[in-house]
């Protein structure tokens, strides 16, 4: 029933971008997102689009897959576009009733929509090319300086990877419970909103019970293997920069540099 939902949208293939160190990809994405706010001219947008297309081509993720990343934000996109289109004051070229379109509005709408689309596409390219585990690993290393101010970075990263690890298990469990309750005649599809929420109780309660039971078992298993947090812990595959990673950093800074210096 809900097995079709996919969370974490890793696209498995063997590309240059996939092999980059997750830290490069996180930092690069971060830089790219910031860079999107440094310009306000057509040439800037073209340059940003060209850069994205270049990286996307290198990543070998099909464009149709990338476009799927936009689906959850379509509503927001349309909403902001409409706001900008109708409520930007300026030189009017079309009016009908209270609707008034201005050149400034059209320009703003196009640019803001482009900016949003690039923002979403840029960050989804990161999740498409990096497994959730690599992401948490990378984040842990990038944020490790914050340990100096006593932030439990390792523990936060551990929590993140455990949570990610459990998503497919819990989805499967939900599917099973839904079917079992359906076998007892439960109905999840009809009724008004309140009725439907009530109908969900026979799913949520067993799901919470099992999640808590699993958490307890996991904690016990970690304890039995003497897990005691991040102190003195080493990694099986420690993150290490290679030449391509450094080059990728260089490319990112080069891109941002050009944008800041040459593009208005």
């Amino acid at each position: 029933m809900i097995r079709d939902i996919t969370i974490g949208q890793y696209y498995s293939t063997d590309s240059l971008i996939h092999h980059l160190d997750p830290r490069v990809k996180i930092a690069g994405t971060f830089l790219y997102i910031i860079s999107l706010f440094t310009f306000h001219s057509l040439s800037g947008y073209l340059f940003a689009i060209a850069f994205f297309c270049g990286v996307a081509a290198l990543s070998q993720v099909p464009f149709s897959y990338l476009a799927r990343g936009l689906r959850p934000v379509i509503f927001m996109l349309v909403f902001t576009a409409a706001l900008n289109l109708f409520w930007t004051p300026g030189e009017s070229f079309f009016s009908w009733g209270i609707i008034e379109l201005t050149w400034e509005g059209v320009e703003k709408t196009v640019f803001i929509s482009l900016r949003l689309i690039l923002l979403v596409l840029g960050s989804s390219l990161m999740t498409f090319t990096t497994t959730p585990n690599q992401l948490t690993d990378g984040l842990e290393r990038l944020l490790s300086p914050l340990k100096a101010i006593r932030l439990p970075i390792h523990e936060i990263a551990m929590m993140m990877s455990i949570a990610l690890r459990f998503i497919p298990i819990l989805i499967e469990e939900t599917d099973k419970i839904m079917k079992a309750q359906a076998a007892r005649g439960a109905d999840f599809e009809t009724g008004n909103l309140i009725q439907r929420i009530k109908n969900m109780l026979p799913i949520f309660i067993p799901l919470f019970v099992s999640a808590i039971r699993r958490a307890g078992e996991l904690a016990l298993a970690m304890d039995a293997r003497c897990y005691h947090g991040g102190k003195g812990r080493t990694k099986m595959y420690p993150l290490q920069y290679r030449l391509t990673d450094l080059l990728a950093y260089a490319v990112c800074f080069f891109y941002v540099g050009i944008l800041i210096i040459f593009v208005p």
Binding site: R3, D4, K176, I177, K179, A180, Q181, A182, A183, R184, G185, A186, D187, L201, P202, I205, P206, V209, S210
Partner: protein
């Protein structure tokens, strides 16, 4: 003549990236008052087949008839099918959710839209049948022991008055005493209430002891169907598809391999003991 599958195939995620054919051209008839075991190693399609029987999954090809009516026909009541063909999942105790045992068991009947009195009566009766005493009716189902939870979950399906009870590994994770309890209960339901029982199992000893008919599945197909006594003769064929035969039968097969003249189709310890004693006496006379 109650449940007939005709040329049924089932494919998961049809047309998607994880397309997987789980069942291929299944022809099967589950009669009334049967006690049938489905065996097959993990991924052979047992669970999928069971979910087709009460309409939880819809066959991608083929037809299913319940009492002569096509269940995919417009106007066929799935609700009624689900009450008549009771499906008990693996580890059914994981689906308990109500605040009291009685309420949880009444969940199914309530969904059927029956009258309050009948709901309560059915729940009461079902709990009695699985051997849960009245003193536990008002306790939380989560506070019970593992074996008790499983029986309450079973009662939850029984309370819908099924004609066919389909169980996916009803004994998984229980201790020997618990397994025996469940089986004795199923036998009693089979005999006293004329419920047809269909259960999946990995334990050939259980199958040999209780089932009257046995269906062997392999890679989404039914490869053998018949009384366990006949099917366990195919030791080599069963081994090829990753299945075993009851330990007692194995001993008898080995004895026969050594040239000892005995009937090697025995399924239970008593049977084989009698057979061996008989052979021994015969030898003594000669």
């Amino acid at each position: 003549m109650s449940l007939i599958l005709q040329n049924v195939s089932f494919t998961y995620d049809r047309g998607g990236s994880n397309e997987k054919q789980a069942l291929t051209n299944i022809d099967l008839e589950i009669g009334s008052q049967e006690f049938t075991a489905i065996v097959g190693h993990t991924g052979s399609g047992k669970s999928t087949l069971m979910q087709l029987l009460n309409g939880l999954e819809k066959a991608t090809e083929g037809k299913i008839y319940f009492h002569g009516r096509d269940i995919y026909e417009k106007g066929f009541s799935m609700k009624e099918l689900r009450s008549k063909v009771g499906l008990v999942f693996q580890y059914p105790e994981h689906q308990l959710f109500e605040s009291t045992v009685l309420k949880d068991v009444a969940f199914g009947p309530r969904n059927m839209g029956w009258e309050n009195l009948q709901i309560e009566l059915n729940a009461f009766q079902a709990l009695k049948e699985v051997g849960i005493g009245e003193e536990l009716f008002d306790s939380s189902p989560l506070a019970l022991s593992g074996g008790q939870k499983r029986r309450v979950a079973l009662a939850g399906v029984l309370a819908m008055q099924p004609e066919i009870l389909v169980l996916d590994e009803p004994m998984a994770g229980l201790d020997p005493a618990g397994r025996q309890d469940i089986f004795q209960m199923l036998s009693r339901l089979h005999q006293e209430r004329n419920i047809s029982i269909l259960f999946a199992s990995h334990s050939m000893d259980d199958v040999a002891e209780y089932a009257k008919r046995m269906i062997v599945m392999h890679e989404g197909k039914i490869v053998l169907d018949g009384p366990p006594r006949k099917i366990f003769r195919y030791e080599k064929e069963l081994k090829q598809i990753g299945l075993d035969i009851p330990s007692v039968t194995k001993v008898m097969h080995r004895l026969r391999d050594r040239g000892i003249e005995i009937d090697d189709s025995c399924l239970t310890v008593q049977e084989s003991a009698a057979e061996i004693v008989q052979w021994y006496r015969k030898g003594a006379i000669e």
